[in-house]
Symmetry: C2
């Protein structure tokens, strides 16, 4: 049996089975994006790692070393943000070839240092090793959270509203322009979606605000894809979800890119990018319906970010449905609905 036969999440499940039961100091262990650990102090320690590998996650002809550095840090910060945590320290494991230009490393670190600085984190160590071919950057980010503020995937309750920050789909629209540079769109749309694709901004302050206000029941960041990540919440919380497509926030830039050359199917393309594009690094969370206006007002006033109610948590565990404006519903098939490193339906390079 090969890895491609069971896919990324099948493999994670299998590994989780192999592991002995976690000791008492492990609050959240394998299966989540972030491990939550009890230390000798009052705070919990958060630990997460994420990798960017040449040829798999990026091409050096498409992304600059500076952008790559920012991105590699941002995707880790986003995982800590989705728990409401505070990033503290980073280890950088860098594999490079002998022929890597030192200027590339300088720029990579400039990007990492800048993005780490925005998150209040410091690079405190790591490892350098030789790669036979292809650069890779594997970052471990450590952070902290007060136990009473911790938000997990597993807290969603039936009847909860489902909300998402910002404008998901823009990163996927940027990827469309990378793949098809000949697409003609306005310069403002192009620069907007390219920036969102190459240097996504994790919603760190927003995650902290939501967690500290105690208004959020379950939260993830949108990395695999909105529906796939909503599936992670549903699985962990043993609930289902209905997303109302007409409520989805469609950015002007996404519309423009989706429309270019595909006027007939522009809306379907835009919805697909929003629902399954991934790598948005927006926050997707659930909250009691009565708290929705308060949450929206708080995020808008404190960080200038809109968030949109896009659906509701339902009782049928594992069910993910799209509710269409004409009253019809579409059930999403069980199993991977977005990014899977080994069964993924989308090209992974950018």
């Amino acid at each position: 049996m090969l890895v491609k036969d069971i896919g990324e999440f099948g493999l994670i499940g299998r590994i989780a089975q192999l592991l002995p039961r976690g000791p008492a100091d492990v609050v959240v262990g394998i299966g989540d994006d972030v491990a939550v650990l009890k230390t000798s102090g009052p705070d919990y320690l958060l630990a997460t790692c994420d990798k960017q590998a040449e040829g798999v996650h990026f091409k050096t002809c498409a992304i600059s070393a500076y952008q790559l550095g920012r991105r590699a840090v941002a995707i880790n910060v986003s995982d800590v943000a989705a728990m409401g945590g505070y990033p503290l320290w980073m280890l950088v494991s860098l594999a490079i070839t002998e022929a890597t230009d030192v200027a590339f490393i300088d720029e990579l670190y400039r990007g990492m240092i800048e993005q780490a600085g925005l998150a209040g984190a410091a690079i405190v160590g790591g490892n350098l090793s030789r790669a036979e071919s292809g650069i890779s950057i594997d970052i471990t980010l450590l952070g902290r959270i007060a136990p009473e503020c911790l938000v997990l995937r597993s807290g969603a309750r039936v009847g909860d509203a489902i909300l998402v920050t910002g404008l998901p789909g823009e990163s996927r629209a940027g990827f469309e322009l990378v793949r098809n540079p000949q697409i003609r769109v306005s310069e403002s749309a192009r620069s907007r979606v390219m920036e969102r694709h190459f240097t996504p901004q994790p919603r760190l302050r927003e995650g902290q605000l939501l967690a500290e206000a105690g208004l959020v029941r379950a939260m993830v960041d949108v990395s695999d894809g909105l529906m796939a990540d909503l599936g992670h919440i549903c699985e962990a919380s043993q609930v289902g979800a209905v997303v109302e497509t007409e409520r989805l926030p469609v950015s002007k830039a996404v519309s423009e890119v989706a429309d270019s050359g595909h006027a007939n199917e522009a809306r379907a393309r835009a919805l697909d990018w929003i629902l399954a594009g991934g790598e948005d690094y927006e926050l997707l969370f659930t909250a009691s319906c009565e708290n929705v206006p308060r949450i929206q007002k708080m995020l808008l006033s404190e960080s200038g970010l809109k968030c949109t109610q896009i659906g509701q948590i339902i009782a049928e565990a594992g069910t993910l449905r799209l509710s269409n404006p004409d009253g019809t519903e579409t059930s999403l098939p069980p199993g991977p609905r977005g990014w899977d490193h080994f069964g993924g339906r989308k090209t992974e390079e950018r």
Copy 2:
């Protein structure tokens, strides 16, 4: 300027220059094998990462998945051991191809879980990603230490004795047999050095004993090579060192492998392996001369491990000398004296 022009340690120095000054909660940052961090509790947090990549650090035809799992964990545990710390949690970032056999992953995890269990650590998370070719395992190990027990590289003082645990050189002898399987040696020597090469045992309990007894001033593990790692102590402590070659512990197995087919140069080969072979994961440390008998007795009685005084710390900063039995001395050139991922003089594959 390319990476190979400045080498691993040149690059680490350059990166350290790029980083902003570490915040107050960073006790030891970049440049050491392990970061030491102040948490909200009384203990310090230790964080280290080390990688094993196919084709660079191992060949799947030479090492089993189980051995690889043990080894990948052991080299990280060894770094924590060299500070006197206690391993707690591990994140495993695994890059595999779609065509990796799931049985390989099972065996890899069996090895990792077993070695982690020996160290009292639990696998609490990680990351799975697709590799274009070649498996890699990047492990981050977190641990703890009471601040008063922490041993760094930087504490060596002029006049200190230099000691090493166990029998360095055996891993290098094992590598010799991997490269030249036709070498004829006794089965006991073969199995001994192969085991030491493929599944080295970090000196965790010994590191903790030494640290808690307060008898050690500076300590590292022997990964790059005994002289190279002694150089790290000297650099951090701004001292020099003289190693007396006649004091070096030469294992029977090392002698046997070194002798096979090279009777004339057997001793020189054995010494070279001991001094520069690396990957022994023994502890190399300095202590006040008057404490040497006490240290040796303690390690022997509490863990059954011999340790040998091999030289002395001297005042001339950066000087590394070998003192020969005939009274002559050999100065080692400055710069890398063992493993350098980009300027390394030895083949890195095993």
